[in-house]
């Protein structure tokens, strides 16, 4: 209480200003003492003298009292701030440079951090994400056939999921959801408008309960909705509700048609919820698992215990042991597998004992995005931090110079009795002001940069649930970063500049050619050059990778090709109608003026889709479980190879002759021929997919040039691939193979090749499709060029950003070197004047300055080269077709820096050479 009262009174004094009461009071004290001394018999003069003596150091007592009246620390801080502000105003060039470079450095780092935070560090926006655990160390996607998955189950069939859910007591809720998600044709039954494509997923009834979130309107799903007989209901995302239905309350309870089936919308998920994981394609509709057979019909997975397609996340009961639950679930998994022994193949049974699962923290959901972007976010973080470090080094140099210039003043202050700590505080206040201003400006830079990166990195039709507006942790990061940079660039110069001998104030300063701090400044410039070399050679490696990727032969033509992505399943087409649908699409598009050729395929190269199968050969034994006998495949219509510009090297392409009743054929790529028929002619040979009994199904009729389909493993050779005609199909006995065969007939990509010089507009394409079937949903129309370039988008973004950081560092290093040499020159003017006066010629002076600078640069380069090699090694996982130790890149980077350093010192060197001795001696 009394401390509070005191603080209040101090603050009042601080604001109101002090009075002079102590001056009077001390005067009175001395007078009273003198009076007493007089009475004791001293003469007036002596009485006064003794009184003052007894009182002690009047001035210091007065100062103490005055200080105690207010808050000394706060006041000196305020005073320092005012003084620093004045000083900074007096050197606007320095201030602007400092704030600008700091804003760039802090902004870049903060921007990358906000991405790191959003993608890598943040948990799902649900209560207590720490209680969430997922099954599977590595996030797994999509569909796995059969019972065997290995030691780390990540996908489960509905049967396995319900078994685990019903037997594990440690979970409050264990939820499951369809791992790949699915596109849905959604139609508001009230309006009767055409169906639109949305992304959605099937989720277990307890999905929302498990996450612990509540509906913003209506209700979310419950266990009651997830039963075979329950009326079909769906939950909409807030985003879809806001953007497509303008938050219309009547949507709740309304009847929608999803893939043609009636669904009642029961509610809207909360705005912050973006599904079970961060993704650039968040679901807009959540359907109960039980409705999957209704929507997918014959290709449904729900009742198939040998098809694993669900991911699982559960919320554990607080206080229960994770290790205990995990052990229990492993036993349950084995129990479940044993109940399906009769359905397993012999090779599956052998692997049974190795089957196991792992329980890992699931607060961030299925971390696909973290896996995809993690590496490059760290690369960018390190690059941005390097730029910031260079900025700090530059500023430290500038601050040192300022400190040196203030030396006479500093030594005078010290001589007058100012404490060193006070001077240090003053100097640090200036640094702190600069770094805070830089940090504030940096936040603006960060906002813009983040928005740009988000736009470039996640080019999708939907938005990524990452905000560019800095969040609280990001703001905190920027603040900490600012203070840290202040310490980095401000502490050493502040300390050095106060380490002057007071005696210097008496001698004329500036009289020596050597001055303290110059060694530190040289070391700083050397460090700057070293970091720059590493950054530039890293960006060189990334640019080379990008060039290598973009210039590689993809095996097909990209120009003049447009890919239209459609979904006939959504429009309710039956498999038997498909052949005629694609024929009609072909005819309608081929009739457009400017069209050269048209074909459809299951998917096109670089579309992101991929189908793989194990292949079996007539007359060969079935491959073992570890043998690599996989090949990618696609179903295509006649004319596909021509439309894609993928040349047939041997035999014939798929044509109209390959009809339903004619013999089943396949066209393979070179890699397929190489892999399975190394020394034989593949034409006329037979193979099949779906099981060893189908080894004679397809007859190979042609070999095409390798075309790169997959948009990953870009540095590896193109994998084996085969094409089969849309018109033909095989009747498989196995459920998984039959379902795959069925789904593969729904071709998603239509390729249109335009005639040279002609253009086929999107509007023309759309109207042609509408003439075939107006209800056929078109998901996307883009040129093949665009489709391919998105594959390299991530590489391009990293390469560009790191290059940008590299250029920044180069410029900053040049500025640093230039500033250092200019300042040195100014200090050495008289020395050089004397040298010239004593007969040194201009050339040797020029050489003197140049040599000094280049020595520093070379020192930096010699440190930078190992740094660059190390950085290359760290980057190696991101480099394709480029040797991380490629000496050319390091040599070019070194050369670029040496050249920059040379040009940066030319100016000061010329100036030095033109010094007139008479003037130089007079400058002191």
């Amino acid at each position: 209480m009394k401390h509070l009262r005191r603080l209040f009174s101090q603050i009042v004094t601080m604001i109101r200003g002090r009075d002079s009461r102590f001056d009077e009071e001390i005067e009175a004290h001395i007078a009273l003492q003198a009076d007493e001394n007089l009475r004791a018999g001293m003469n007036p003069q002596e009485a006064r003298r003794q009184a003052v003596l007894k009182f002690g150091p009047v001035q210091s007592v007065r100062e103490n009292c005055r200080a105690e009246q207010g808050l000394p620390f706060a006041e000196s801080l305020l005073r320092d701030t005012r003084r620093s502000l004045r000083r900074l105003r007096n050197s606007p060039g320095f201030t602007a440079t400092a704030i600008f470079t700091l804003a760039v450095g802090i902004g870049a780092t903060t921007s990358i951090f906000s991405l790191v935070h959003a993608v890598l560090l943040q948990s799902l926006p649900v209560p207590h994400p720490d209680q969430l655990y997922r099954i599977g160390k590595a996030p797994k996607c999509c569909v796995n056939g059969g019972y065997i998955e290995g030691g780390d189950y990540g996908l489960a069939s509905d049967d396995l999921y319900t078994h685990l859910r019903d037997h594990t007591q440690g979970f409050k809720e264990l939820a499951a959801f369809d791992s790949g998600g699915t596109f849905l044709g959604v139609m508001d039954a009230r309006s009767g408008a055409a169906a639109e494509t949305y992304f959605g997923e099937y989720v277990s009834g307890n999905y929302f309960t498990m996450f612990g979130i509540r509906a913003i309107a209506g209700r979310l799903l419950s266990a009651g909705d997830d039963h075979a007989g329950a009326p079909p209901v769906a939950v909409m995302s807030y985003r879809a509700w806001r953007d497509q239905y303008s938050r219309d309350q009547s949507v709740i309870g309304a009847l929608f048609r999803i893939d043609g089936k009636p669904f009642t919308i029961v509610g809207v998920a909360p705005p912050s919820f973006y599904g079970h994981s961060l993704s650039n394609l968040p679901p807009d509709f959540y359907l109960p698992l039980a409705t999957e057979p209704l929507v997918k019909g014959d290709s449904s997975f729900l009742r198939k215990s040998d098809v694993a397609w669900l991911n699982m996340i559960g919320r554990i009961r607080p206080g229960s042991s994770v290790a205990g639950i995990e052990a229990q679930m492993r036993v349950e998994l084995q129990d479940w597998l044993r109940t399906h022994l009769s359905e397993m193949s012999a090779s599956e049974r052998v692997q049974l004992p190795q089957q196991s699962l792992n329980l890992v923290p699931g607060g961030a959901g299925m971390t696909f995005m973290q896996l995809q972007y993690g590496d490059w976010l760290w690369i960018l973080m390190v690059s941005a931090a390097s730029v910031l470090l260079i900025v700090c080094i530059n500023l430290a140099n500038l601050m040192l110079v300022r400190g040196m210039d203030r030396r006479p003043q500093t030594s005078l202050s010290l001589a007058l009795g100012v404490r060193r700590a006070r001077l240090l505080q003053e100097s640090l206040t200036e640094s702190l002001l600069l770094s805070l201003a830089g940090g504030a400006a940096g936040l603006g830079v960060a906002f813009l940069t983040t928005r740009m990166i988000l736009h470039l990195a996640f080019q999708t039709t939907t938005e990524v649930p990452i905000a560019a507006v800095p969040s609280l942790p990001v703001l905190g990061f920027a603040l900490v970063l600012s203070v840290l940079t202040c310490v980095l660039f401000g502490a050493a110069p502040a300390w050095l500049s106060t380490r002057v001998n007071p005696i210097e104030a008496l001698r004329g300063a500036n009289r020596s050619t050597k001055h303290s701090g110059s060694r530190l400044r040289k070391a700083l410039v050397v460090g700057q050059v070293a970091i720059s070399v590493a950054l530039i050679s890293s960006s060189g490696l990334l640019l080379l990778t990008l060039r290598h990727l973009e210039r590689q032969d993809l095996g097909f033509e990209q120009d003049r090709r447009t890919v239209i992505n459609i979904d006939p399943l959504l429009a309710g087409y039956k498999p038997e109608q498909l052949n005629s649908l694609y024929r009609r699409i072909h005819d309608a598009l081929a009739a457009l003026p400017g069209t050269a050729s048209v074909a459809s395929s299951l998917y096109t190269p670089q579309s992101g889709d991929e189908w793989d199968e194990t292949v079996y050969f007539e007359g060969k034994s079935a491959p073992g479980p570890d043998a690599d006998s996989g090949a990618g495949w696609a179903r295509v219509t006649p004319g596909y190879f021509a439309a894609l510009g993928n040349p047939v090297l041997k035999g014939r392409p798929i044509t109209d002759e390959d009809a339903a009743q004619s013999r089943h054929v396949a066209v393979i790529n070179e890699a397929f021929a190489q892999k399975f028929f190394a020394n034989e002619d593949p034409i006329g040979k037979h193979f099949g997919k779906g099981g060893p009994t189908y080894g004679g199904d397809y007859e190979i009729v042609g070999v095409t040039k390798d075309a790169r389909f997959a948009n990953y493993n870009l540095d590896k050779p193109i994998a084996a691939f085969f094409y089969i005609p849309e018109a033909q199909s095989t009747a498989y006995k196995e459920s998984m193979a039959a379902s795959t065969e069925l789904r593969s007939h729904f071709l998603h990509d239509v390729v249109v090749e335009a005639r040279p010089g002609a253009t086929v507009t999107n509007a023309m394409l759309r109207s042609a499709f509408a003439s075939v079937d107006p209800s056929l949903p078109i998901r996307q129309i883009q040129s093949l060029n665009q489709q391919v370039s998105t594959t390299f988008g991530q590489q391009r973004l990293i390469a560009r950003l790191v290059s940008l950081f590299g250029m920044l560092s180069l410029v900053l290093a040049a500025v640093g070197l230039y500033g250092m040499m200019s300042y040195d020159l100014a200090r050495r003017t008289s020395e050089i004047g004397v040298r010239i006066a004593l007969g040194a010629n201009r050339k040797s002076i020029f050489g003197l300055i140049l040599r000094a600078a280049m020595t520093l640069a070379l020192l930096g380069l010699s440190l930078g080269i190992p740094l660059a090699v190390g950085a290359g090694r760290l980057l190696s996982s991101q480099l394709y077709g480029v040797n991380p130790r490629d000496p050319i890149v390091v040599i070019i980077a070194t050369f670029a820096l040496a050249l920059t350093a040379f040009f940066a010192t030319l100016g000061p060197a010329f100036r030095a050479a033109s010094i007139s001795p008479a003037e130089a001696v007079r400058t002191e």
Binding site: K2, R5, R6, I26, A28, E68
Partner: protein, 115 residues
């Protein structure tokens, strides 16, 4: 001067409060003089400590001050105890007496008594 002890740290505030309590309002010089007199001129009050202390006590609300006239007609600042100060004096007196008695008992300790 050499044989005079400085006031032990932390005890000056209590002495000031007690002085003001017993003698009524006093100016700074008066307080210092009285403390020295009461101690039988064994203590010497450092003015560099006294005035900041008076300020601190005033800021804390234990004492209040006003300008007034000294006995020989000099303008001086007079300090007086407030109600808060009286309470503080009582509390601190009790505390001090307790400490003193404990210290006394320790210092009077003899080995036999504890066996």
């Amino acid at each position: 001067m050499k044989d005079k002890a400085d006031v032990r740290h932390g005890t000056l505030a209590l002495m000031v409060l007690k002085t003001l309590d017993v003698l009524g309002p006093q100016h700074g010089f008066g307080i210092a003089r009285r403390i020295e007199q009461i101690s039988g001129d064994l203590l010497s009050v450092n003015q560099g400590t006294l005035y900041p202390l008076l300020l601190k006590l005033e800021q804390e609300g234990a004492i209040a001050s006003d300008w007034g006239c000294s006995e020989n007609n000099r303008r001086a600042r007079f300090y007086r105890l407030t109600r808060n100060g009286k309470k503080q004096l009582q509390a601190e007196t009790m505390e001090w007496e307790q400490t003193a008695s404990i210290m006394g008992r320790f210092l009077a300790m003899k080995a036999e008594g504890l066996r």
